[in-house]
């Protein structure tokens, strides 16, 4: 497989070098894969996207997209990449059709020419094509934005948090659309997301925090690397439970995960010891069970500051 994107040691600072958004990031994206950038807000995802989409100049480091340098050949890159910013950025006072036609025209093409690529997606919003973009629902806006980003048949698609603020059903639909684009058209997709469940949809993911990549691997590979024992803990006093778990001497880390707490423990402690400790603290209906690690557990384990959680 060929790398379609290569980034080497990208550094970006803001505010006269006082804020380091990217601290020397290097990675490669292979042709025809879905590459996920997973990380909390402020991790540097958008800066990285803007550099690759030729909107932002890096302080140092080099990057190529489809063999073209992002600084020197920025004009050519703009014809070969589609970029969907995190914020809806189409003309709200133009209709669906006008927006699509507008972007087709500015890229020097027509809707008909690349209709095959967007057909699946555009058909869903075509009945409303005379409606102004500002009056669309979140899911429809997102489909329109994706259509507009695809209308010039790019080789690479950059999606900056495409599913933020979209309902779970639309999110799922959206990832299915991306999978189809990859399979049917061989499109390379780089997407960022703060949602851990979406990470599993990617072929490879990079966990990013504070402007640094923590790890790059397939989602399965990342999970396989997780080597600590992990327990799910539940009791009748959930609020008190987290503090009690964290103050337990055998506890390594404890985080809230939906219905229960995920706990990693120091070597050599047993479930029975925890159970009796919790009973001593006044908990009843205590349930402790070993569980499989999820991406989020891996991310938590990899993060520098364990206190920051992904999504509150």
């Amino acid at each position: 497989m060929n790398s379609i994107i290569q980034a080497e040691n990208i550094v970006k600072t803001y505010n006269h070098h006082r804020v380091q958004a990217l601290k020397g990031v290097s990675f490669e994206v292979e042709e025809g894969e879905i590459y996920g950038l997973i990380g909390p807000d402020g991790a540097g995802k958008t800066s990285l996207f803007r550099i690759l989409a030729t909107l932002l100049l890096a302080d140092s480091g080099t990057a190529t997209v489809d063999g073209l340098d992002v600084v020197r050949d920025y004009r050519k890159i703009r014809n070969r990449t589609g970029y969907m910013p995190g914020r809806f950025s189409l003309y709200q006072d133009l209709t669906i059709e006008e927006n699509l036609k507008f972007f087709a025209t500015v890229f020097g093409t027509t809707i008909e020419q690349n209709y095959g690529l967007i057909k699946d997606i555009y058909q869903q919003i075509e009945p409303f094509k005379n409606r102004r973009a500002g009056k669309l629902s979140g899911g429809m806006k997102q489909k329109l934005a994706l259509s507009c980003a695809l209308i010039h048949a790019p080789r690479v698609l950059f999606l900056d948090e495409p599913t933020t603020g979209v309902d779970p059903v639309s999110r799922k639909e959206f990832w299915e659309m991306l999978q189809r684009l990859k399979e049917n058209h061989g499109l390379t997709i780089v997407a960022s997301t703060p949602y851990m469940d979406e990470a599993m949809q990617c072929d490879r993911i990079a966990l990013i925090q504070n402007g640094q990549f923590l790890t790059i691997d397939t989602p399965q590979g990342i999970i396989a690397h997780y080597d600590k024992p992990l327990w799910g803990v539940h009791s009748d006093k959930m609020h008190q439970l987290l503090d009690d778990l964290r103050s337990w001497q055998g506890c390594d880390t404890a985080f809230s995960f939906g219905e229960q707490y995920h706990l990693t423990v120091k070597p050599g402690v047993s479930q029975a010891a925890l159970e009796s400790y919790l009973h001593g603290k006044g908990h009843s209906q205590v349930a402790i069970a070993p569980i499989e690690a999820s991406i989020e557990d891996c991310f938590m384990a990899l993060m520098d500051q364990p206190e920051t959680t992904m999504k509150q």
Binding site: L55, D93, V106
Partner: protein, 371 residues
């Protein structure tokens, strides 16, 4: 092709704006119909009080003569100066005319009599114009008396001047004729300058600029797509305003209409470029609006719209040399009032052209697709 579609898009957005098309129609009507009627420097209906200490036939005639003028309305006659002054203090009167005791007698015996004029100068223009009008009427009266009696009271013949000013190009000193051409310039700077100044920054705020910046649209195309629609709007507004001036006030240009359009077009490019430059440097519409209004105020006050450039101090006259509004205004006024040829106005025209080229290039250079 791309440029054409970019321009079409600008027009679509302009027309879908709820307010803009209404402003395009109402603003010229307001500016051309209302402003010349209210923003007039003609002083009429000055209120005056009289203190007639003489109560003679001649003093009575003077009073009547002033009151008969269309410039003055008589508030009343007062027994002494202090009572008359009180009418100025209470803003009932603008001017007090005091006639000395023995006015008639002095006039007949010595040929010299004095009349005092006190004017309220809180509004400087009203005060100075009012007192000079009054002085003129009194001088007129003196001349009239001289003619009636065939000689001045002292019996000697004095040299006599008949001063009859003739006002060229605007014989009746009609303020509207003078104001409307300048208002055309004002109209253009308000709409054709202001709208571009909030356009690009508006796209920044809405985020749509991101999506444009990743397209291969060139900077020149992009800036042209922002400039051309406003130049077109400017020409439309000018036409509308000129028709209004003709329909409402019956004022038509004495000079070439084609030249007016030529000036207007170059002026539109200049002000739209200024707007776009401001828009490029601003990060939100508030900044852009305030910056634009700062420049607009200076352009208008230093353009000769209200006060002649020649009466400004030297340093400020130097600044007006780079004020596009000044040259546009001079051209519009000259073309409306006199039948000026292109040769007469070529200094103004070329200066505007240089400004247009420089500012347009600046607008392109200051637009950055990446940061």
């Amino acid at each position: 092709m791309v440029l054409k579609y970019l321009i079409v898009k600008e027009f679509k957005q302009m027309m879908r704006n709820i307010i803009l098309p209404i402003v395009f129609v109402l603003l010229p009507i307001g500016v051309i119909n209302v402003l010349p009627r209210i923003a007039t420097q003609e002083v009429k209906h000055l209120k005056f009080s009289v203190v007639d200490n003489d109560h003679s036939a001649l003093s009575q005639r003077l009073m009547n003569k002033i009151a008969a003028s269309s410039y003055f309305d008589l508030v009343g006659a007062f027994p002494n100066y202090n009572k008359a002054l009180a009418t100025i203090e209470s803003c009932e009167a603008d001017i007090v005319v005091e006639i000395e005791p023995e006015f008639e007698k002095n006039l007949i015996t010595t040929g010299v009599a004095s009349v005092a004029i006190d004017a309220n100068a809180v509004n400087g223009m009203k005060g100075s114009l009012g007192s000079s009008y009054a002085a003129q009427i009194i001088a007129d009266y003196a001349a009239q008396l001289r003619d009636e009696r065939g000689l001045d009271a002292s019996g000697t013949t004095v040299a006599k001047f008949d001063v009859a000013p003739r006002y060229l190009f605007n014989p009746t000193l009609d303020y509207k004729v003078y104001m409307i051409p300048a208002l055309l310039g004002m109209l253009l700077i308000i709409l054709v300058g202001f709208l571009p100044s909030i356009n690009i920054v508006g796209e920044k705020e809405k985020g749509t600029i991101e999506q444009i910046n990743v397209t291969p649209v060139s900077k020149i195309e992009f800036i042209l797509s922002k400039l051309i629609p406003y130049a077109v709007v400017g020409i439309f507004l000018l036409t509308f305003a000129m028709l209004l001036a003709r329909g409402i006030h019956g004022i038509t240009p004495a000079g070439s209409v084609a030249l007016i359009y030529a000036f207007a077009l170059v002026f539109c490019v200049v002000v739209a470029s200024i707007g776009l430059i401001i828009s490029n440097y601003s990060s939100n519409t508030q900044q852009a609006t305030l910056t634009f209004f700062f420049f607009m105020m200076i352009f208008m006050l230093m353009s000769g719209l209200l006060t002649p450039v020649a009466s400004m101090p030297a340093w400020s006259r130097a600044i007006t040399e780079v004020n596009p509004m000044r040259f546009a205004m001079e051209a519009f006024r000259t073309l409306y009032l006199k039948d000026a040829s292109f040769g007469d106005l070529s200094p103004q025209f070329w200066r505007l052209c240089i400004m247009a080229v420089v500012l347009w290039a600046w607008a392109i250079a200051s637009y950055r697709k990446n940061s």
